[in-house]
């Protein structure tokens, strides 16, 4: 195993990472808390068809937002440490942005996701791999109307421009993804996605 480049990075506590707060289970039953176990069953009977899917709820649209993008990529593992990109603060919620791709065409469904990556140290040679990993994860997980823009955050990497050029070049990304060894690394990084 090659020598680690940064063997002792700072780690965020996973409880401190941004998460989506679900509305507390108001619709489950009148007792959302611990007492649900005390009164377990709404009696099984004819009338009690599962009505939790109320019509209003079903029609309410939940658009893809930054937190959703964060949830997709924060659980990717760092190739060096078995620690997630979220805990290492390589990706963070404020560094994710979703914008219409064509602001002049209001009806266009096209959207662009911008993700800025902060390597744990400025000379991290794996920054490209991490960038590719994030890109692959997004391409596999987002609908085709989304455009991906994955970049190294300005001033956080010694050869950031070089890496960005590589990540932005479609041909080069495609070529990299043909590389079996590289794809192996990326597949390993994504094993922890949940």
């Amino acid at each position: 195993m090659a020598e680690m480049q940064n063997s002792n990075p700072t780690i965020l506590n996973s409880a401190d990472l941004p998460t989506r707060l679900r509305p507390t289970a108001t619709r489950k039953s009148e007792y959302g808390g611990i007492f649900t176990s005390a009164l377990p069953l709404a009696p099984v009977d004819f009338e009690s068809a599962p009505s939790s899917d109320s019509e209003d709820d079903n029609l309410l649209e939940e658009p893809i937002d930054e937190q959703e993008i964060y949830d997709l990529i924060s659980s990717i593992s760092d190739p060096e440490h078995p620690i997630s990109l979220g805990e290492l603060a390589v990706v963070s919620l404020p560094d994710i942005e979703i914008k219409p791709t064509l602001p002049d065409v209001p009806d266009s469904p096209l959207q662009t996701v911008t993700v800025l990556i902060t390597p744990t140290i400025t000379h991290c040679s794996l920054a490209t791999v991490i960038g590719l990993g994030v890109r692959v994860r997004l391409e596999q997980s987002l609908p085709s109307r989304f455009r991906m823009d994955v970049r190294i955050k300005e001033g956080t990497h010694s050869t950031g421009d070089e890496v960005n050029k590589q990540l932005a070049d479609k041909e080069r990304v495609a070529a990299a993804l043909e590389n079996g060894a590289l794809m192996g690394v990326i597949a390993k990084m994504m094993e922890t996605c949940h």
């Binding site: 965020l12 004819f46 079903n58 440490h81 596999q140």
Partner: protein, 1061 residues
């Protein structure tokens, strides 16, 4: 032909015959028909033959005779002669076995043992060139000599030591090695090995690490682990090996193979446990220097875990017999470099390396009280300094975490308040810092910004550890902590996921186990004071308080207090003219119910008090309330009655037989003496309020033991009148809660209390209900159908004789031309085996083990063939006259879904080929009212796929059709009238994901990929394309499920099976 010649002819191919011959001769010798000398002499012409095979057979003849002789027969002299004879010819086949038989005899002596050993050592220098079996016999002989004549062997000293080493050197067979290792271990422990330590060590260490893999179908069943265990016992057998073993084992940690490292570490641990403390001490620092890297740069979790175990084992060994702390102790010398390293790593406690440093401190400090003192002395003071200088809360939290690790170790060493015995002789070194800790953690918990949740949670955990640590805090100091917790719970607003509040409740519950008085004295008054007298609004602000009280009141003393306080709140409410919303009294009852469920009420000494107050007292109040004597409507509310009923049910179950009999007698009168309360059965004048008391009666009756059935009113001479009355009430009542209770009451009586010979009463009721069908339209009203199904449930669960008749009658309802009858009946099938709180095993209902199987195997084929009929009739135009109404097929599918949702999949699997087409047809239903059926179908499919993999579906040839239907169900843009709810879409995606994850039945993560091509491959492109569109679903949960399913297919479905190694 002589016996010898016959023996030599048959010995190769007929062992039994050969044995018989030898036994015959042995018998002749014992009965003096012939002599041993004659027998030996008869060998004459063969034992000098040039052919070793002939010689061997002749010797075997003698051996076989000796084996057949009775153990007492041979004289000392004869044994001696025979031994010498065999030793001279030891290389001939059979001689070794002969010696083995001889050495087991009582008259075999020490001198002979030495002679045999000598013969073995001098004649078997070339042992390794012989066959495995021959070697095995030699080792067995040696092993027997070692166990039967150990003294003689030991007296041989170096001769036996070197002799054994010589003949075993080069041995490779696992079966032989098992014996060899155990022989060597004895020598290592009992011989004076000082002149040959290295020879002996090398003789076993050469085998390290064991890389043996048993062949498939290995008849001897020796595993690599067996060999590893024996080898490890040898290496760790004597401290003399330490200078060789420990450096060699540490060297092995340079290996690239995790398995080799694992073996080296576990052998090292065995050595640490077995060598004496002085020896361990000599190598302790060397071991630390090497293991440090395994822990700080952990490659594999288990390697760092095992390394930590080794470090702790050293500290434990070095603590043996130590009663006073001193820096001169070998233990102190060992710990110095460790604490130094950890202190350095902890300078930046928020970094990755701090975690392993914490683990190291945790393990070594927990090794013994002395070890704990030494660690605390060097580690704790710098943490205080770092904390004061820390530039951010992240760092401070990491420091608190480090302290928490030490507190946990302190609990291991010094115990908790509730730990019995084992007081440590040494004072807890943390006491010196007690006030500082109290200030630091109090400040962190209460002084930090409210949104710093994880920081405060860490402080809370630390404070909790210290509060439960035995003989540490004073009562008032723990009391302070309890006040902090109360304040957090009562005064603070919710933040985020409320992690802090959850932890605070858990902490109070934990403190309640150790110091219940503090909870009763401090927390109870504070919390109860926040409970309102009454509550009108809908925001239920009392709820969090009640939840907290419920969770901290499991301890007996506290529960009694809780009961008194809440019961008096309830009594006040019942007396009010304007008691506010019924939700509040109900919540009070739920709280009591919750806590009682958590506790073992049968063991509770106060159960009689609770019984009198609740079962007798409140039931009387219910009766009074039903006759209009109450000040308010609380006890007329069906939800309150339901909760109160559950509470009564639990208490009745815990009550004595005598009390249960009282309950049975009062099940309808509800202990009421009031004249105007008319118990329900047979009364003509009851109003809705009075009828509602059936809810309480049902719960009471459910709790009563079967043995009390003769005490139930109106059951003499039999139950027929009572049951008939209940049936009438069931089919006519319209108030939902009351109706529900009547149905269950009826079912309960039929299932639990109706005697075997009286079952026909219920069966007749069933038939008469069915006959109430309107003959023309073949329709039944819903209330009657429900009554029929509940009655069926009661009978089927006890597998009444008419079970098959009942089931076919119920199925016939599905084909009723009346759409409503058919649809209502379809929904009923989920009731039959559905879980129910009244008819439950806990309540002693009669639930036969085979009832599920019986129902499933009876009903499924009938549904299947009926659907086929409908399908055929549907396609066959010419037979249009026979065409069934459209509702019949969905009704059957609904019934099937209802049954499947209540049956374990193990029962379903054998029927899968019949079932799968039906499930697929269920997925073809499109309308909104089929959503429930489709969800149930997807649930069933998910379990089938998860437990059995794709293979079972592939065998039925349905992969393509299943995948297509699942994909259709994930779509939002379906045809007119078709509805896929979000839940349905997400469930279909979950099934797709499970398909990709379970391509091999029972697949565990590391099993091999299936040989050949995955059955999913042909549909992979179709799935990925369709799922891409689902990634844009309007609902977030659906998108998430789509992402997961797509990732599973991208990752898991591959044309080339992956090679694991």
């Amino acid at each position: 032909m002589s016996a010898l010649q016959t023996f030599m002819l048959v010995v190769d191919h007929d062992k039994e015959e050969a044995k018989r011959i030898a036994e015959g001769i042995a018998h002749d010798i014992e009965t003096r028909k012939t002599t041993l000398i004659d027998t030996v002499q008869s060998l004459g012409e063969y034992i000098n033959d040039e052919d070793p095979i002939l010689r061997g057979k002749a010797i075997s003849y003698l051996t076989a005779i000796i084996q057949a002789l009775s153990p007492k027969y041979l004289s000392r002299q004869q044994i001696q002669v025979l031994t010498t004879f065999f030793c001279d010819r030891i290389e001939d086949g059979g001689a070794v076995d002969g010696l083995q038989a001889l050495q087991g005899l009582d008259r075999f002596n020490k001198f002979l043992a030495t002679q045999v050993a000598q013969a073995l050592f001098s004649n078997f220098q070339d042992l390794q060139s012989r066959s495995q079996t021959q070697r095995f016999h030699v080792y067995q002989l040696l092993n027997d000599l070692m166990s039967n004549h150990r003294g003689a062997m030991r007296d041989m000293g170096d001769i036996s030591l070197l002799g054994v080493v010589d003949i075993m050197t080069g041995e490779k067979d696992p079966r032989n090695l098992m014996i060899v290792f155990s022989i060597l271990k004895v020598i290592m422990i009992e011989w004076d090995i000082s002149n040959h330590v290295e020879t002996l060590f090398d003789s076993v260490y050469n085998y390290f690490p064991i890389t043996f893999r048993p062949p498939p179908n290995d008849p001897y069943g020796i595993t690599a682990q067996d060999l590893k265990g024996r080898l490890q016992e040898c290496i760790s057998s004597t401290r003399h090996f330490a200078p060789h073993a420990i450096p060699a084992l540490l060297d092995k940690l340079d290996s690239t193979s995790p398995n080799v490292k694992k073996d080296a570490l576990s052998t090292l641990i065995a050595c640490i446990h077995s060598y004496d403390p002085n020896t361990v001490s000599k190598f302790s620092i060397t071991v630390w220097e090497v293991l440090k890297f395994e822990i700080l740069n952990a490659q594999e979790e288990f390697l760092s875990e095992t390394s930590l175990e080794a470090l702790q084992a050293i500290a434990q060994r070095l603590s043996e017999g130590v009663t006073e702390v001193s820096q001169e102790l070998p233990l102190a010398k060992y710990l110095q470099p460790i604490t130094k390293e950890c202190n350095e790593q902890l300078q930046e406690p928020q970094n990755k390396q701090a975690k392993p440093a914490q683990s190291i401190l945790s393990r070594v400090s927990a090794a013994s009280p002395v070890s704990f003192v030494l660690v605390v002395q060097t580690v704790v003071p710098p943490i205080f300094t770092l904390y004061q200088e820390a530039d951010g809360i992240v760092k401070q939290r990491a420091l608190l975490e480090t302290l928490n690790v030490l507190f946990e170790a302190a609990i291991t060493v010094f115990g908790q308040w509730t730990t019995r015995g084992g007081e440590a002789a040494i004072e807890n070194p943390l006491l010196e810092f007690k006030d500082q800790f109290s200030d630091l953690f109090g400040q962190a918990l209460m002084g930090a910004a409210k949104e710093e949740v994880s920081f405060r949670v860490t402080a809370l955990k630390g404070f909790l550890h210290l509060s439960t640590l035995r003989d540490f805090f004073q009562e008032n100091e723990i009391g302070l902590f309890v006040q902090y917790l109360d304040e957090i719970l009562i005064k603070e607003e919710s933040v985020g996921r409320d992690d802090l509040k959850k932890e605070a409740i858990a902490a109070l519950a934990e403190v309640s186990k150790h110091k219940p008085r503090l909870i009763v004295d401090i927390t109870f008054p504070a919390f109860v004071a926040t409970l309102p007298e009454e509550d009108e609004g809908s925001d239920a602000r009392y709820m969090p308080t009640l939840e907290t009280l419920a969770q901290i009141s499991v301890e007996r003393d506290i529960f009694e207090t809780l009961f008194r306080r809440l019961f008096s709140k309830l009594s006040v409410l019942l007396q009010k003219e304007q008691p506010g919303s019924v939700a509040y009294p109900r919540a009070i009852l739920v709280t009591l119910l919750y806590v009682m469920q958590q506790r073992n009420m049968e063991q509770d000494q106060s159960v009689d008090l609770y019984f009198d107050k609740v079962v007798v007292g409140l039931c009387r109040d219910v009766a009074a309330s039903a006759t209009g004597k109450a000040k308010n409507r609380i006890l007329k509310d069906p939800t309150v009655l339901d909760t109160l009923g559950r509470l009564c049910n639990l208490l009745v179950r815990s009550a004595s037989t005598q009390k249960q009999e009282q309950v049975a007698e009062n099940v309808y009168s509800l202990f009421s003496s009031a004249e105007d309360f008319i118990p329900i059965p047979f009364s003509q004048t009851t109003n809705a309020d009075q009828e509602r008391t059936i809810i309480i009666s049902t719960y009471l009756l459910a709790g009563v033991s079967k043995d009390c059935s003769n005490k139930i009113p109106h059951t003499n001479p039999d139950m027929s009148r009572l049951l008939l009355d209940l049936v009438h009430r069931s089919v006519s009542n319209t108030d939902p809660a009351t109706h529900q209770a009547y149905l269950r009451h009826l079912a309960l009586l039929v299932n639990k209390f109706l005697s075997k010979q009286d079952v026909t009463i219920a069966e007749k009721l069933f038939d008469s209900l069915l006959q109430s069908q309107d003959t023309e339209s073949q329709s039944l009203d819903p209330a009657t159908i429900r009554t029929i199904f509940w009655l069926s449930k009661a009978l089927i669960l006890r597998l009444a004789p008419s079970t098959t008749h009942i089931l076919t009658s119920l199925l016939a309802l599905l084909s009723s031309p009346d759409q409503q009858t058919s649809a209502t009946a379809a929904q009923g099938f989920s009731i039959i085996l559905g879980e129910d709180d009244i008819l439950s095993a806990t309540n002693g209902a009669t639930i036969r083990l085979l009832c599920r199987q019986r129902l499933f195997t009876t009903v499924t084929p009938l549904i299947s063939s009926r659907i086929r009929e409908v399908n055929i009739a549907g396609t066959d135009d010419s037979a249009a006259a026979k065409k069934s109404p459209d509702h019949i097929k969905p009704a059957h599918l609904t019934a099937l879904a209802g049954i499947l949702s209540t049956i374990p999949t193990a029962l379903v699997m054998p029927e899968l080929p019949t079932l799968l087409p039906l499930l697929l047809q269920s997925l073809d239903l499109q309308t909104a009212d089929s959503v429930a059926v489709r969800i149930a179908t997807l649930d069933t499919l998910a379990v089938i796929i998860r437990d059995n993999g794709v293979a079972v579906i592939d065998q039925c040839g349905h992969v393509q059709s299943l995948v297509t239907r699942l994909l259709k169900t994930t779509s939002t843009s379906t045809g007119p009238g078709a509805v896929n709810s979000p839940r349905l879409r997400a469930d279909a995606l979950k099934c797709l994901k499970l398909l990709a994850m379970h391509q091999v039945p029972g697949a565990v993560a590391n099993t091999r990929a299936p040989p050949g091509i995955s059955p999913l491959l042909p549909v992979k492109a179709q799935v990925l394309r369709s799922l891409r569109a689902v990634l844009d679903d309007p609902k977030r949960d659906v998108r998430k499920a789509a992402v997961d399913a797509r990732a599973a297919w991208l990752r898991g479905v591959d044309d080339a099976p992956e090679e694991d190694e």
